[in-house]
Symmetry: C2
Subunit: 199 residues, 2 copies
DNA sequence: ACCTGAACACCGTTCAAGT
DNA sequence: ACCTGAACACCGTTCAAGT
């Protein structure tokens, strides 16, 4: 790096991430990021080819963070407990990083060289799939993973968007829905025992 | 209306809706809408106080359309079939109106006079709640409705965002998840019979 | 009453020119 | 090698001026 390098890719991403969470997506303008970094907007294009590129990098950082917290939730040998803890970690991440979370599901424009976030997006799904595979086998694990992740994403994105209009205890609703789904999914692979207290 | 009224609120909404679905959200600029209507951008502000206001109106139109198709899916006396048909109608609407659908869950900035879309947003949830209420009683209906709508929203929004990365049959995944959830939810209110063929 | 051109304060992005 | 000012083509929005 040359003597007068005021920016690094990481520094820019961190600043953009902070702006994103403390303000909102449309406040993350190249000018605002540049100001916060102490540079002029055109300089950012030395590191990121576009605003979309920068936002993708931020989303990647956040996705890896999420993946890390999902992995910590795993309890080997206890699929049911692992899934409950992963679900809680997923929801907690979304609540603590609402704007980054909604970045995950932004339809990125079809990039020529494929989705640069693909790897980061795959990891959480793969972790979930693996746990479910242990519990109910490979065959139904994909279907089960899609059911569970659809519920998780739907629930937290509605929660973040204030889309639960009828009051009531949202935490209780999450526990209720999660328990209903996990019971249904795990029962399909093992119809003989209750999973509310496996091992 | 005066002799030279080139615009009506409805006409503008229809044009904006068409631009939204045929192009994308960021192509719905006031200038693009104005061009398509045959007028200059500032004229639109006679009917809508802002772009956000116009988009809210478009979202309201689409929500009422969705509600209409949900109501048609109801089969009185058959909660399970009604719910399956409503789920299919919900997903079909999202697939046929992807950009309008994603407008539903855009975090609208907290408006001073409350959410102008609140009524339109409430109706679908209320319809679902009513069906579930018949099936399992008021007490669990709210929890069940939230579980189901979280799954539905999560599934279709992932589908629209191409977030199912592992291939496979997406239709089958939807049927699988829906069946698992409906069985779990309806069983909780009536533990003695299967709901896969209620009259 | 409706529409318009001109203007304002912003965007993202490019690029020749500085050091 | 990095940074910058100036410029371009856009935005949303306001408003005085036209008919």
């Amino acid at each position: 790096m040359s003597a007068h390098a005021k920016t690094s890719g990481e520094g820019i991403r961190a600043v953009a991430r902070k702006l994103l969470e403390q303000q909102s997506l449309d406040r993350v303008s190249m000018q605002a990021v540049a100001d916060a970094v102490g540079v002029r907007a055109p300089s950012l294009y030395k590191r990121f080819s576009s605003r979309a590129d920068l936002l993708n990098a931020v989303a990647g950082d956040a996705l890896r963070e999420l993946q890390c917290s999902l992995e910590k939730a795993v309890r080997p040998g206890s699929p049911y407990r692992s899934l409950v803890r992963m679900a809680a970690a997923y929801r907690a991440f979304a609540k603590n990083n609402p704007h980054a979370y909604s970045l995950f599901f932004d339809e990125s424009p079809p990039s020529p060289n494929g989705d640069p976030l693909l790897e980061a997006r795959l990891a959480p799904a793969a972790t979930l799939f693996q746990i479910l595979s242990e519990a109910i086998g490979d065959e139904e694990a994909l279907l089960a993973a899609r059911t569970l992740v659809a519920f998780l994403h739907g629930f937290v994105s509605m929660e973040l968007g204030n889309a639960f209009h009828f009051g009531g205890d949202i935490n209780a609703a999450f526990r209720f829905g999660l328990a209903a789904i996990l019971d249904a999914l795990l029962a399909s692979g093992n119809k003989t025992r209750s999973h509310s207290r496996d091992r």
